[in-house]
């Protein structure tokens, strides 16, 4: 796919992925979950991967992280972290990279932390596994990190266990662990979904600040359009295992070029539409085992024409800095102009 030209920072990507596919082996045969995904994240940039459940967004980042499920088989044409070719690395080399140069924040902080280790020990272990820091130095760094992510009284709380912290605090601790070794790339899988809005605001602000201060690339997975709108520099929208649209945050949300993005935007309640019925998208996201032929969105699409049922549209540039996989992208984007 000719997408390299549109990537603004191909020269200095923190993450560069080409043609990533992941397939799950099941009793009923192989089920493709991710189909030919390309991604670029520049240093200091926050890219949002937007999609609903089953769209393949979590599978994508797990595969980038090298944490594929046991029954998953992934393949890619290219996968680079900075200058490092991830595909050429052995499993062991890949493991040493994790936590050090790339790290991940999970949705459920309680199950991602070890309940029988104090948070100080967990962060300390991580630091000592990747560096030759002393026990004492690692402890001091743990306190520093807890303070950095906004845990009040960090030096007092470093010996506390995960259950002694609230949900928002645990998520901060996870972020603290993820940034402990100043990775080039942070993958955040729905980091605020389980949190209340006032706490979500704190976490989003923290992520935003950290990537500026550490010049860290962030790939944020979310299903929440509001979150995307608040923090994303660039957005990639996934549907049924493929990226169907991508572009800059401002531009893409203001003038979507793919009917799915457009429909998502009109289906969330906004101030302008008060008192009117919400625009609904008929049906529901397809089961990965039974993705419709042609464009996967066509059964739910109000723009669908005959061609959509047969030919899958490629992800192509519809205008500068914007790619969309729709036969009628130009019309969709034009409709937004009126």
């Amino acid at each position: 796919m000719a997408v390299t030209s549109t990537s603004p920072t191909a020269a200095r990507s923190a993450l560069r992925v080409r043609g990533l596919s992941v397939e799950f082996r099941t009793r009923r045969g192989p089920v493709p979950s991710v189909r030919g995904v390309d991604l670029d994240v520049a240093p200091g940039e926050l890219v949002a991967l937007l999609g609903e459940s089953g769209s393949g967004k979590s599978v994508t980042v797990r595969s980038i992280m090298g944490l594929d499920a046991d029954n998953a088989r992934s393949s890619a044409d290219e996968m680079r972290l900075g200058d490092t070719d991830l595909l050429a690395l052995s499993g062991d080399e890949r493991r040493r990279l994790r936590g050090h140069r790339m790290s991940m924040v999970f949705q459920d902080a309680l199950s991602a932390l070890n309940p029988v280790l104090s948070v100080g020990d967990q962060i300390g272990d991580l630091i000592r596994a990747h560096t030759d820091a002393s026990r004492r130095a690692a402890r001091a760094r743990a306190v520093e990190l807890l303070a950095m992510v906004g845990i009040p009284g960090a030096s007092r709380r470093v010996g506390d266990y995960p259950h002694q912290f609230s949900g928002g605090m645990r998520q901060r601790i996870l972020i603290g662990m993820a940034i402990a070794l100043e990775p080039e790339l942070l993958l955040a899988d729905e980091p605020t979904t389980a949190l209340d809005v006032t706490v979500q605001a704190q976490i989003l602000e923290l992520l935003d600040r950290l990537r500026r201060e550490l010049d860290m690339a962030v790939l944020l997975i979310t299903h929440d359009l509001g979150v995307v709108s608040e923090v994303a520099d660039r957005v990639a929208v996934m549907y049924a295992g493929r990226i169907v649209e991508r572009g800059s945050g401002d531009d893409l949300l203001a003038q979507p070029a793919h009917p799915y993005t457009e429909a998502l935007l009109t289906s969330v309640p906004q101030t302008e539409g008060l008192g009117r019925d919400l625009v609904t998208i008929p049906g529901s996201p397809p089961n990965p085992e039974r993705v419709p032929p042609g464009c996967a969105f066509h059964p739910r699409c109000s723009w669908a024409v005959e061609a959509c049922r047969e030919t899958r549209p490629a992800l192509i540039e519809v205008r500068r800095g914007r790619e969309s996989a729709c036969h009628r992208s130009q019309e969709v984007v034009g409709a937004g102009n009126e």
């Binding site: 949900g167 209340d196 006032t198 704190q202 989003l204 509001g226 709108s229 608040e230 969330v268 529901s284």
Partner: protein, 357 residues
């Protein structure tokens, strides 16, 4: 429509004239005990003195963060929990004690739509059995008439009646939630209590369910109590909204007033923290009111105003005196009440929430 009243119903749930109070709660208090007992036993104050009334045909939204007691309130209103003190009356009759007759009356009049459509439907029952169960349980009609009624209910929520022999797993999340709504409507309740009805659904499916609820309200005149943590959904559905914080109502009033001119600092923070899709109104990350910390634990709620530990406007009186719900002086809107000693002050600082006008 098939027979709705049976000889067993002491007072058939007809439709009250619009505007009449159908369900009223006064000073509801509910605490739970946790721990094994003895010294480790602690009391969790879930709902602490809530009063509200629902008028026929209106929709009241309840928003608040997790642990603020909104679900407990809902469960008390439908009779699934008995309050420690306070009273609940349905159409003027006190049903607080949940005696048999009360429960029967409440079940006819007040029904609930649950949050998770994956666990609130019995996987071994067909849709016909699920939606028809309230009719069977209340011995309403004959087998054939119940079947007709189920078909009617399914089409009311936008599902094909031909699907009634299927099982829940054959439906998507949005369709399951509609089945849950159809079941709640089976006895033609006057009040539908919806506890986070869309939060377990995919974004692209939420709108379908929101529209079904709005449509039912218009067509059947059913009264809605709509609980959600998503402020934009509540704004879309509710005529009035109540904001809860740690078991108490912080602010209540007409939706437009509460959203456009919030008088309680907590409402202001909540509105300011909610992400907005509209990119033009964003960029408030820097400007927004970010609350420190998390909501305090309901096991030891702060004295005075329960919000004072996180409030940017807190003063000495907030730490000691519990603010009562009152109408801020000078406020144009008479129907809005806020439980804040300094609501007048808060109202002068709306640019903190929405940016400079």
């Amino acid at each position: 429509m098939p027979a709705t009243s049976s000889p067993h119903t002491p007072q058939p749930a007809g439709t009250a004239p619009p505007g009449e109070v159908v369900l009223e709660a006064r000073d509801l208090v509910k605490t739970f005990t946790t721990g094994r007992g003895g010294l480790s036993r602690t009391r969790v104050s879930s709902v602490d003195g809530i009063s509200l009334s629902l008028r026929a045909g209106e929709s009241l939204g309840i928003v608040g963060e997790s642990g603020c007691g909104k679900s407990t309130l809902a469960r008390m209103l439908v009779g699934l929990e008995v309050p420690d003190s306070g009273s609940i009356s349905y159409r003027g009759r006190d049903v607080t004690a949940a005696r048999r007759g009360d429960r029967r009356l409440l079940r006819r009049g007040v029904q609930m739509v649950f949050q998770d459509p994956y666990t609130s439907l019995d996987p071994r029952m067909t849709v016909l059995e699920i939606v028809g169960e309230p009719l069977t349980a209340s011995r309403t009609g004959t087998r054939a008439s119940r079947r007709d009624r189920v078909a009617e209910l399914l089409s009311l929520v936008g599902l094909a009646p031909g699907l009634m022999e299927r099982y829940p797993h054959q439906f998507s999340g949005g369709q399951r939630q509609r089945i849950g709504i159809a079941r709640a409507l089976a006895l033609e309740p006057e009040v539908l209590v919806c506890d986070e009805p869309v939060s377990a659904l995919d974004v692209s499916v939420q709108a379908q369910v929101v529209n079904v609820l709005r449509d039912l309200q218009r067509r059947l005149g059913v009264t809605l109590l709509f609980i959600a943590h998503d402020l934009s959904v509540v704004r879309h559905v509710a005529d009035r909204v109540a904001v809860m914080y740690l078991g108490r109502i912080a602010e209540i009033g007409p939706t437009a007033t509460v959203y456009e001119a919030p008088a309680h600092p907590y409402t202001q923070a909540l509105l300011s923290a909610s992400p907005v899709v509209d990119r033009a109104r964003r960029g408030r990350m820097a400007a927004r009111i970010v609350l420190d910390g998390d909501p305090p634990s309901p096991t030891s709620p702060p004295p005075g105003c329960r919000f004072h530990t996180r409030c940017r406007m807190a003063r000495d009186d907030c730490r000691t005196d519990v603010p009562s719900l009152r109408r801020p002086s000078e406020a144009q809107e008479r129907a809005r009440l806020a439980a804040c000693h300094h609501a007048e002050d808060a109202l002068t600082r709306l640019e903190d929430v929405f940016g400079p006008a």
